[in-house]
C-alpha cells in the first residue's frame, strides 16, 4: 500500500509507472525509468497528450535528464535505504541549479524521520509505504524541528529573527 502526499496532504496519484517492455500509453501521465527515457527519449518528449515523469534510481545522476527538464513534469528520486542520502542532493540540484518547478517525488524507503530533510531539500511529494510514517503525516507531524542553521530551499522558511546570522532560518 502506497500513500501519496503532495505538499503535506494525501493525494490521488494520476501517474502511471511504466517499466521495461510495456508500450507507453499516448494519453496518460507516465513515470518512466531512466533506461526507458533514454531508449525512447524523442518519442517521450514529443507526445501530444499526457505528462512525462522520470524515475531516477540512486545510482542515476541528474545530468542524464538535465537538458530535457523543461519538458519533464515530474522527477521521482529513489531512497533505496534509510542510510542512502544521495537523493537529498539531487532534489537540491533540481530546484537550485536547474530551476525545476515540477513535482519532485520521494520513493522507496520514505520514513518520517527524514521527511523534513526531504522537504527542505526540495521534495514536494512523498510516496510512502511505511504505515507509522503515513499515520504521522496524517497528523501533520513530521518529527522535525522548527529552527534551522542553514538556508535550504527558499520559500518555506524565513530568516531567523536572531540577529547577526544570515544563515539561520525559522519555519513559517
Amino acid at each position: 500500500m502506497t500513500t501519496l502526499f503532495i505538499d503535506g496532504a494525501v493525494a490521488e496519484d494520476p501517474w502511471v509507472s511504466i517499466d521495461g517492455e510495456q508500450p507507453v500509453p499516448e494519453a496518460e501521465d507516465v513515470i518512466v525509468s531512466l533506461a526507458l527515457f533514454e531508449a525512447q527519449r524523442h518519442a517521450l518528449l514529443t507526445r501530444n497528450e499526457g505528462r512525462l515523469g522520470v524515475y531516477l534510481e540512486a545510482d542515476d545522476q541528474i545530468d542524464a535528464i538535465a537538458d530535457d527538464l523543461g519538458k519533464i513534469d515530474l522527477v521521482a528520486l529513489d531512497f533505496p535505504s534509510f542510510a542512502d542520502g544521495r537523493a537529498f542532493s539531487k532534489a537540491r540540484l533540481l530546484r537550485d541549479r536547474h530551476g525545476f518547478a515540477g513535482e519532485i517525488r520521494a520513493t522507496g524507503d520514505v520514513r518520517i524521520d527524514q521527511v523534513q530533510h526531504m522537504r527542505r531539500s526540495g521534495f514536494n511529494a512523498l510516496a510512502v509505504h511505511h504505515q507509522p510514517t503515513v499515520d504521522s503525516l496524517m497528523e501533520i507531524k513530521d518529527a522535525g524541528l522548527n529552527l534551522f542553521y542553514q538556508p535550504a530551499i527558499e520559500g518555506a522558511e524565513a530568516r531567523s529573527s536572531s540577529g547577526g546570522r544570515s544563515w539561520a532560518r525559522r519555519a513559517l
Binding site: 534509510f82 537529498f88 541549479r97 524521520d113 531539500s121 507509522p132 542553521y149 536572531s162 544563515w167
Partner: protein
C-alpha cells in the same frame, strides 16, 4: 567564548525532545534498530561492548567551567564516575542507559552543550587548534570559523546521510596542532598581503585503513565564501562518494580515485554557481560571531614573574612541570597550561568526576572561566597568570593531575580499544599503561625528549597511530592480539604517515620493542637536541629494523 542565544537554546531543547520521542518509538517497536541506529548515532549514542556509549561534543575543544562541572555531574549521576576525553575533542561516557540519555541531553542543553553529530555518516563535531585564542604564533582565532561551520553543518538536511563520516578541522596558525591535514576538510585561517582574512583549504585527508594527507584545493578562499565552498565540496561528495564499500567511502578515496584536478572542476563549478547566494557570509555576521571569542580582559603584566622564578628554584618538581606543561601565551604575563590526563599507569584521557570538578574550579578561578580539550586527550587551561601557576600546580598535584609529561613519550594517545569498543580488534589502554609504567622515570623521559606515541586498537585509527612518531596498531591474528609498529608519522604542518617497520609483536613483546626503538634513537642521535622524529628522518627505518629484527642466522 560562544554563548547560546534564544535561537540556539530553543534549537537544542527541541532537539532533545525529538530524541526523547525517537527513544520512545524505539522502545515501543515503531522504530526498528535499523532505523533507530542512524538516528541515535546522530545524537552520539553507540552500542559498545558492555553498554551504550554517549559521545558529547566539545565544539572546537572550548568549554567553560559550568560545562566541565556538568560533565562531572553526568559521570557521577548517570555513569560510573568517570569520562573519557577522545582524540576528537569529545568526551565519552561508557555506561549510560538508553532510557537515561534524553535526560542526560537535557542536562547538557542546560549548559549549552549537546551530542549532535558526534557520530554517524554526517558532518562531525568541528575541531580546532586547542590553543586557539591563546597561542603566541596565531594569525587569527580559528574558532569563529569553526563555530559558523558548526552551525551550518548542524542538521543540514542534505548532508545527514553521507557515504561516510565527514570531519572538518580549522587552525589559525602556521603550526598545525590539530592534525588539520588529516581531515576530510582542513582549513587554515590566513591573512593576505592586504591584511584580509581568508582560508587555505585542504580536502581528502584522513587516517583509518587508508591514511592520506589532505590535498590543497585552494590556496586562498575569501572568508565570505567559506560556507559556499564547503557546501560545494559536500554536495559533490554526497553525490559521487562511493557507497558500495564502507572502507572506500570517505572523500579521501573519491579524491584519490577521481584525481584532485577533476574533482576540483566539479567543486569549483558548483561553488561558482552558489557563491553569491544565501551562503555568502556578510562581514558583520562573521564579526558578530568573532566577538564572542574576543580576547579576555588581560591585565597588563610583565613578561617575567619573580614569584614564579623563585617557586621554580624552590621546587624542582614544579620547575619540571612548568618546563614541560606550560607554554608561552600571546599575552605578556600569561601562560597556557596543559593538564596531562596521563598519570603513570593511567588510561589516557580518562578523568574522574572529582577531577572534572577540580578542573572546572581551576578554569573558573585562574583561566577566565575557560578550558580546552585537545586531540591529544589532555585538558588545557588557556589563560593563566604566571603568578598563579604555582597555585594551579598545587591543586593539580592534590587531584593527581600534575604529570609533567606533556609532549613526552608517556603523553600517549590511545583509543578505548577492545576493553570497550565494539569495533576494536585488540586492546590499547593496557598497552598504553604498560608503556607509561616502563618509561615512568621523568629523567629518562626528559632525556628522550619530544616523542609522540599513539596507539589504536583497530585499523580505524582513532588512536591516530599513523601520525605517531611511534605508532602502534593492535590487530587480531588468529585470536591473539598482535601489535604492528609504524615509525616517522607526524600530524603537524610537516604531515607524514608512519611507515610499517616490520612484523608485529605480541602483547608481551611490544613494550620491549618500543624500548628497543627508543634505545636505538638515543644511541644514534647527533646530540641531545635532535628529537626522535629528526633522527628518524635523517636515518630512515633501517637502523630501527636492524635493532628490532636482528638477523638470526643466514640461511
Amino acid at each position: 567564548m560562544y554563548r547560546y542565544d534564544e535561537f540556539d537554546r530553543e534549537f537544542v531543547t527541541s532537539r532533545v525532545a525529538q530524541f526523547r520521542d525517537q527513544v520512545e518509538r524505539r522502545v515501543s517497536g515503531e522504530l526498528t534498530e535499523d532505523n533507530f541506529k542512524p538516528l541515535r548515532l546522530q545524537n552520539g549514542v553507540y552500542l559498545q561492548l558492555h553498554a551504550y556509549m554517549l559521545r558529547v561534543a566539545v565544539p572546537y575543544g572550548t568549554l567553560n567551567s559550568s560545562q566541565m562541572r556538568m560533565l562531572g555531574h553526568i559521570a557521577r549521576k548517570y555513569d560510573r564516575d568517570y569520562g573519557h576525553f577522545t582524540t576528537r575533542q569529545n568526551i565519552q561516557f561508557n555506561w549510560p542507559k538508553l532510557a537515561d540519555i534524553p535526560d542526560i541531553l537535557e542536562d547538557l542543553a542546560s549548559v549549552e552543550m549537546h551530542a549532535i553529530q558526534t557520530s554517524g555518516n554526517c558532518i562531525r563535531n568541528v575541531t580546532a587548534d586547542h590553543l586557539a585564542g591563546a597561542a603566541a604564533d596565531e594569525v587569527a582565532d580559528p574558532r569563529p570559523y569553526a563555530e559558523i561551520l558548526r552551525q551550518w553543518s548542524t542538521i543540514h538536511p542534505e548532508f545527514l546521510f553521507l557515504p561516510r563520516k565527514f570531519k572538518i578541522a580549522v587552525i589559525g596558525s602556521p603550526n598545525d596542532r590539530a592534525a588539520m591535514q588529516f581531515h576530510d576538510i582542513g582549513l587554515e585561517v590566513r591573512k593576505n598581503d592586504a591584511g584580509e582574512l581568508g582560508l587555505r583549504v585542504f580536502v581528502g585527508g584522513g587516517l583509518g585503513r587508508t591514511p592520506m594527507i589532505g590535498k590543497m584545493i585552494r590556496d586562498w578562499l575569501p572568508e565570505e565564501d567559506m560556507l559556499s565552498y564547503c557546501e560545494a565540496i559536500l554536495r559533490v561528495y554526497n553525490l559521487y562518494g562511493r557507497r558500495d564499500n564502507k572502507y572506500k567511502a570517505r572523500i579521501k578515496i573519491l579524491v584519490h580515485e577521481t584525481g584532485l584536478d577533476d574533482l576540483k572542476k566539479d567543486i569549483e563549478a558548483e561553488f561558482e554557481r552558489i557563491k553569491d547566494g544565501v551562503l555568502k557570509l556578510p562581514d558583520e555576521d562573521v564579526a558578530a560571531i568573532a566577538a564572542y571569542f574576543a580576547p579576555s580582559e588581560f591585565a597588563d603584566l610583565p613578561a617575567k614573574d619573580d614569584g614564579l622564578e623563585q617557586a621554580k628554584l624552590d621546587n624542582r618538581s614544579f620547575a619540571r612541570w612548568v618546563d614541560r606543561n606550560v607554554v608561552e601565551h600571546a599575552q605578556s604575563g600569561y601562560a597556557i597550561v596543559t593538564v596531562a590526563l596521563k598519570g603513570t599507569g593511567e588510561a589516557p584521557g580518562d578523568a574522574t568526576s572529582a577531577q572534572m570538578d577540580v578542573l572546572a574550579d581551576l578554569g573558573e578561578k585562574y583561566s577566565f572561566d575557560e578550558l580546552r580539550v585537545s586531540h591529544e586527550q589532555n585538558v588545557i587551561l588557556p589563560h593563566v597568570q604566571l603568578s598563579d601557576l604555582k597555585a594551579v600546580y598545587d591543586a593539580l598535584l592534590e587531584a593527581g593531575m600534575a604529570s609533567a609529561n606533556a609532549g613526552l613519550i608517556t603523553d600517549i594517545i590511545a583509543c578505548p580499544g577492545l576493553d570497550y569498543c565494539a569495533l576494536a580488534t585488540a586492546r590499547s589502554i593496557p598497552v598504553a599503561q604498560e608503556l607509561s609504567q616502563r618509561f615512568a622515570d621523568l629523567d629518562c623521559q626528559n632525556d628522550i625528549g619530544d616523542l609522540k606515541l599513539k596507539i589504536s586498537g583497530c585499523i580505524n585509527a582513532c588512536g591516530h597511530h599513523h601520525v605517531g612518531h611511534i605508532g602502534i596498531l593492535g590487530v587480531d591474528r588468529r585470536g591473539e592480539e598482535l601489535y604492528q609498529v609504524t615509525l616517522g608519522g607526524s600530524g603537524d604542518e610537516q604531515a607524514a604517515v608512519g611507515e610499517i617497520i616490520g612484523r608485529g609483536f605480541s602483547k608481551d613483546e611490544i613494550g620491549d620493542a618500543v624500548e628497543t626503538i627508543v634505545d636505538t634513537y638515543l644511541a644514534r642521535r647527533l646530540s641531545d637536541d635532535e628529537a626522535f622524529l629528526e633522527t628518524y628522518r635523517r636515518l630512515g627505518p633501517q637502523p630501527f629494523k636492524d635493532a628490532l629484527y636482528p638477523a638470526k642466522e643466514t640461511a
